[in-house]
C-alpha cells in the first residue's frame, strides 16, 4: 500500500502531503506561542510600578543569538536550494552549518544566559532602616545614586524609593546557626555553580534551597558594581570572592553580611522571582526546546538513516528538507518577536 502525494503534488491542491501537515502544525504553534505572548502582555499591563523587573537582559548576547538564528535560516534554505540543484555535497555543508548555528544558540543560553540569572540574587528588606543600612554598606556614599540607577535600569521608573528596589548581586558565602565562620557557597565546578535556588520569604523564614543547610543565619552578598575589580561579575567567580568574604565579611567592597532576620525576600533571578522572569523562562525555555527538536530532525536528515531516502526518492527527500526548513524558519520567526519583547522594550 502506497500513500499518494508524498513526493508529488496533488493536482487540485498543488501541495504534497507533508507541506499541508507542516503548515497546519505551524498554525497550532502560532496559537501556542500566541497564548504565551498574550500572557506576557496581560501580565505586563497588569504589573504595578516597580514590579516588572526587566532591565537585566544582556542585549549584546541577545543580538548575537538573533544574528546566529538568522544565519541558520539562510543556510537551511540554501540547503534545500542545493538539493533542488542536485548538489548533495553543498546540501551537507549547509545543513552542518545550520546545526552548528543552532547548537551555538542553545549553548549560549544554557551555559551563559540562564546560569547568569540563576546566580544573581535580589534582596529586599523588611524596613527602610535595614534597606538603608545595607545599601550604605555595599555602596558607601554612592548608595542613593545606585538606588536611582537600579530604579531606572531595571524598572524603567526613576521614582522608586530605596525600599522598593532590591539590593542585588552574587552570594559569596553564608553563616549557619552556632557557627561564626563564613561558609563557601561552593567551588567553581561549572558555570551553574552558585545557582542554589535560594529563596527566603519573611512570612515563614523558610529557605527553599538545594544542597544547603536550613538554619542559615546570614548571607554574604557581593553587590553589583560595588567593587571596581568585579564590576561585571555576570557569572559568579565565587572561589576568589568567597575568600575575600572570609576575611572581611561585612566589608563594603567584598561582600555585605546580611542577617536573615532583616530580609524580607531573597531570590535569585529564577522563574519564581517575578512575573517577568516567569514568562522569560517559560518563553525562552519553550523556544529552546523547539531549537533542540530542530537539531534532532536536522541531524536525522544528515545521517545515513535519513539520507538513504535521497537515493531512493530524491523528490521526497527534497520535500522533507523543505518541511524541516519551514519548521526551522518558524523557530526563527518566534525569536524575532521574543528578542524585542524580552530584551529591548
Amino acid at each position: 500500500m502506497e500513500i499518494p502525494y508524498n513526493s508529488t503534488q496533488r493536482p487540485d491542491t498543488g501541495l504534497y502531503n507533508a507541506k499541508v501537515g507542516i503548515w497546519l502544525f505551524l498554525a497550532s504553534e502560532v496559537m501556542l506561542f500566541g497564548a504565551l505572548f498574550s500572557a506576557y502582555v496581560l501580565l505586563r499591563v497588569g504589573a504595578s510600578p516597580g514590579t516588572w523587573s526587566m532591565g537585566l537582559m544582556n542585549i549584546p548576547v541577545g543580538t548575537f543569538n538573533t544574528v546566529i538564528l538568522i544565519l541558520s535560516s539562510v543556510t537551511v534554505v540554501m540547503a534545500w536550494a542545493s538539493l533542488k540543484l542536485g548538489d548533495f555535497k553543498a546540501y551537507k555543508k549547509y545543513q552542518i552549518a545550520t546545526i552548528l548555528c543552532a547548537a551555538a544558540f542553545v549553548l549560549v543560553k544554557w551555559s551563559y544566559e540562564w546560569p547568569a540569572k540563576f546566580t544573581h540574587y535580589d534582596v529586599t528588606f523588611k524596613d527602610a532602616t535595614a534597606a538603608k543600612d545595607y545599601f550604605v554598606a555595599a555602596y558607601g556614599d554612592n548608595h542613593s545614586k545606585q538606588v536611582t540607577k537600579i530604579a531606572k535600569d531595571r524598572y524603567n521608573d526613576p521614582e522608586l524609593q530605596i525600599t522598593q528596589v532590591p539590593l542585588s548581586g552574587h552570594i559569596v558565602g553564608y553563616k549557619v546557626k552556632g557557627d561564626t565562620h563564613v561558609h563557601d557557597v561552593g567551588k567553581v565546578m561549572n558555570i551553574w555553580n552558585g545557582a542554589w535556588f535560594w529563596r527566603i520569604n519573611w512570612q515563614d523564614t523558610n529557605m527553599v534551597a538545594l544542597n544547603c543547610p536550613k538554619d542559615i543565619t546570614a548571607v554574604i552578598l557581593h553587590a553589583d558594581g560595588a567593587d571596581d575589580d568585579h564590576a561585571k561579575p555576570q557569572h559568579a567567580k565565587t572561589a576568589s570572592l568567597s575568600t575575600d568574604a572570609h576575611s572581611g565579611a561585612g566589608s563594603k567592597h567584598h561582600g555585605v553580611e546580611i542577617p536573615v532576620s532583616r530580609i524580607k525576600r531573597l531570590s535569585s533571578l529564577e522563574p519564581a522571582h517575578s512575573p517577568f522572569f516567569a514568562i522569560y523562562f517559560t518563553l525562552t525555555g519553550l523556544h529552546a526546546l523547539h531549537v533542540l527538536g530542530g537539531i534532532v530532525v536536522l541531524s536525522y536528515n544528515l545521517l545515513p538513516i535519513g539520507t538513504r531516502l535521497w537515493l531512493k526518492d530524491p523528490d521526497r527527500f527534497a520535500n522533507r528538507i523543505e518541511t524541516t526548513g519551514l519548521f526551522w524558519h518558524f523557530v526563527d520567526l518566534v525569536w524575532i518577536f521574543l528578542f524585542p519583547i524580552l530584551y529591548l522594550l
Binding site: V45, T63, I70, S73, K84, Y155, L160, G325, H329, L344
Partner: protein, 127 residues
Amino acid sequence: MSDHHASPEYYHGLIKKFKAVGYTLIIATLVTVGIDYFVEKYEVSFPKALAFAMLVAVIKASCVIAVFMHLWWDIKWKTISITMACTFFFFAAMMYLTITSVNDVPGLDNSYRKLPGQAEHSALADK
C-alpha cells in the same frame, strides 16, 4: 514550490534573494538594537518605542514568511496565507479581549494594591 520553475537558473535566482533577505534581517536586527540605545539616551516614549520595535519585527517576519518559507511563489499561497491569517486573527482577538477585560472594571485587575494600613510596599513584596 511550483514545479513549473524547476530550471537551475530559477534556483540560482532564488539563492540571490535568500542572501539578500538574510542581510536585510541582520541589518534590521542591528537597527532595532540601535534604536533601543537611542530610546534610553533620548528618552523616547515607551509607546513609540514599542510601535517601532513591533513594526521592525513584523517586517522581518514578513520577509521570512514570504521568501524563506517561499509563500510568495507557492501556487497555493492563498490557501496557506488565508489559513495563517485566520489563525492570526484569532490570536489578535484573544489578545485584545484579555487585555480589555482587565482594564474594564476598576479594582478588579491583578495590579498591585495596598492593603489598608500598609504604608509602603516593596518591589518584590508578598503582600
